[in-house]
């Protein structure tokens, strides 16, 4: 057991911290949320230069060979900086899916380009009737010639508007809720029959519903087998969950700092409001929640690389359920203790709060993951 970070990890953390301090201030971020793209293309290029975009990929495919703990470090700062770039979608989930499950040939064509920042991907795994259930797939994949034809609709595909490719879960057989009979396909955004309905998200990002109408893909667009794609998607989503947990911890930590600072500087009744025990004890609760949440994010991260699906899922769901509750406590109390300042758009506090809330609503909320953890109680 070892709880320390390596020198490389500390250096990475410092570099990214410096970047956020210098190039990603609150006002700059607000401009980006209002821009057409919704994030900074320049920042994306800088991440590529820093090696962030190739961080978790194997060296033979141009990557840095990093692990999920490296990703955790980055995601924590993504949270602190409220970074808008599609790191989670492109690198963690889609890049992770290709690394874990694609053929060597596909890895050779995709991973170096992803790492260089040339292409972006989005994971199209959810449907309107499925809520958070990855197995509830109606989108159909039918064999056609040597390839496949895809038809259906995927909803709230994170970072879809800027994606060059989608990784789409589609049904090759069985009923709409069957675990078997699901496959994953790589679909170019430019393919005939692909349309998107794009919209901003509550936390300043971008997403879209993706419609596939008789979209033709060739045989090597299939990742894994035609029957067992659910495990492929679940693995990618487990990585995403661990990353979201780390992002949440970054925000929780930053929110606690902001709230503590407010308690020390805001005066009412002639004294800093932090003199009042009612507020002190709530701040202590937030501090405790942050420490416990951090521990859970570590558990999720160190298991995210595991090949044991049950162990990985237990860690991911446990962490997501726990951190969702901690985030709710910290987010709501941070807003409350900032008073009216907490409910305006001008302060970063409300933006942190909204992102925390949307993290809970992404890739399975507290109830969903508590049930998953509880149903498999060891």
């Amino acid at each position: 057991m070892d709880f320390s970070y390596s020198n490389e990890q500390l250096a990475l953390q410092e570099t990214l911290q410096r970047f956020i301090g210098r190039d990603y201030g609150f006002e700059r971020r607000r401009e980006l949320t209002r821009s057409a793209l919704g994030f900074s293309a320049g920042a994306w290029a800088q991440y590529a230069d820093l090696g962030l975009l190739s961080l978790p990929f194997p060296e033979q495919f141009g990557g840095l060979g990093g692990n999920a703990v490296d990703v955790m470090l980055v995601m924590e700062l993504v949270g602190r900086g409220l970074l808008l770039e599609p790191f989670l979608s492109t690198i963690v989930m889609c890049g992770g899916l290709i690394r874990d499950s694609a053929s060597d040939e596909l890895k050779r064509t995709m991973l170096p380009r992803i790492g260089a920042g040339e292409i972006k991907l989005a994971l199209a795994c959810c449907e309107a009737a499925g809520r958070y259930e990855l197995s509830r797939v109606a989108c159909a994949a039918v064999r056609s010639g040597g390839g496949w034809r895809l038809s259906g609709q995927k909803t709230v595909v994170l970072d879809a508007p800027s994606a060059d490719y989608f990784l789409v879960s589609a049904r090759t057989g069985g009923d709409a809720a069957d675990a078997r009979g699901i496959a994953v396909f790589l679909v170019a955004r430019e393919a005939a029959g692909v349309t998107t309905l794009a919209y901003p998200t509550q936390s300043g990002g971008r997403a879209a519903d993706v419609r596939l109408e008789n979209v033709a893909v060739d045989a090597n667009a299939l990742i894994g087998t035609p029957e067992t794609g659910l495990a492929v998607v679940e693995r990618a989503v487990d990585r995403g969950i661990a990353a979201l947990c780390a992002e949440a911890v970054g925000i929780i930590t930053a929110l606690n700092e902001a709230t503590l600072n407010h308690l020390k500087t805001r005066k009412q009744f002639g004294v800093p409001i932090g003199n009042f025990q009612a507020l002190q004890h709530r701040m202590a609760d937030m501090f405790i929640a942050a420490e416990q949440a951090r521990s859970m994010a570590v558990i999720a991260a160190v298991h995210a690389d595991s090949d044991d699906a049950a162990e990985r899922r237990r860690a991911a769901s446990g962490a997501k359920a726990y951190i969702g509750q901690a985030a709710r406590l910290v987010g709501q109390q941070a807003v409350q203790m900032h008073g009216a300042m907490g409910v305006v758009d001008d302060l970063i506090v409300s933006h942190y709060f909204k992102r925390l809330t949307m993290i809970d609503m992404s890739l399975g909320d507290v109830d969903f993951h508590l049930a998953r953890f509880s149903d498999r109680l060891a």
């Binding site: 709880f3 503590l260 202590a284 558990i299 160190v302 446990g318 109680l377």
Partner: protein, 403 residues
Amino acid sequence: MDLKYTPEEQEFRARVRAFFEAELPADIRDRMRLGKRIRKEDMVRWQHILFRHGWGAVMWPAHFGGTGWNVIQQHIFEEERADIGAPPQNAFSLKMLAPVLMTFANSAQQEYFLPRILAGEDWWCQGYSEPGSGSDLASLRTSAVRHGDHFLVNGQKTWNTFGQYADWIFCLVRTSAEGRPQQGISFLLIDMKSPGITLKPITMLDGEHEINEIWFDNVQVPVENMVGDENKGWTYAKFLLTHERTNNAGIGSCKRALNKLKEIAAEQIAYGRPLIDDTRFRDRIAQVELELMALEITNLRVLSATADESRALGPEVSVLKIKGSEIQQTLAELQMQALGPDALPYVREALEMDWTADPVFAEHYRPYAPPLSGQYFNLRKTTIYAGSTEIQKNIIAQLILGL
């Protein structure tokens, strides 16, 4: 960053396990497993066994006769101890007083007391709280007035744990009324056989005798039994409390209690099926399991950080104390609630090994059942002792957050 145990750590765990399997007396193990009353002689016998093996004090440095183990090894030892059902060691001697003696006592005191603690020769108890001094401990009034080569101690201590077994008591006493209350406190080691000491049991809400009131009436204490400097006792007291609170995390015991809870919930029938299949109840188990998963890592993070930085434990142990005590309480509460109506019977004799239930009674009265409600009632103490949850939050707010 790696949560996997190294091969060396796994080998260490196997060694600890093998030792427990071989050396833990079966009768003690049974009492622990069934939640029976644990006696002083059990704890002393176990301490002797550990001492003979060189494991009398796993948290002490080697030059004081401890094992010199790192925090991960200590964690493994504690986890295995709880899992197999070995009794805890006397925390007052080994985990609270000993660090104070190692850090602040003179060599004569260290050389006399530490080996006796290690060998299980002396049973120590604590004299901190007083009727008028609970959370506001520094307001304590038990006085020690110097007369030549001894102090005369007068006053009353309360909430003293297991003083009825004790050979010695470490006490906070007032040696000066000057300045702030914290500035006039000294740390005395008092022989419980001293004339003038009277001990009166306090029955707790579970009906058990665990705590006492103690009166001091002109008790003579040799000056050489003062630890450190006169009027500096508050510093030593706070140091001790920090160590006490670390132990309060109780990860190993909580893991055992969680497993037992799952066993009980699998055995109890509700709505015609095992209680654990009821999602409403199982989700509550899941929630406390998540708290415990997080606390195990938080605990190790805190201990590893202090070890890496070669510094003493600080106010961060308040986090461990708050969470650990809450988890213990929740687990005990769920265990009791899992019994349903069988939580009601109160059978005091059931805490003894030789108790056998009436066959009719035993139908619905499992071997583990009698202690469970009592355990729930008893553990309400955990968020009150060693600095209540409210005091811990004050400490976090003031010493960590700077409010």
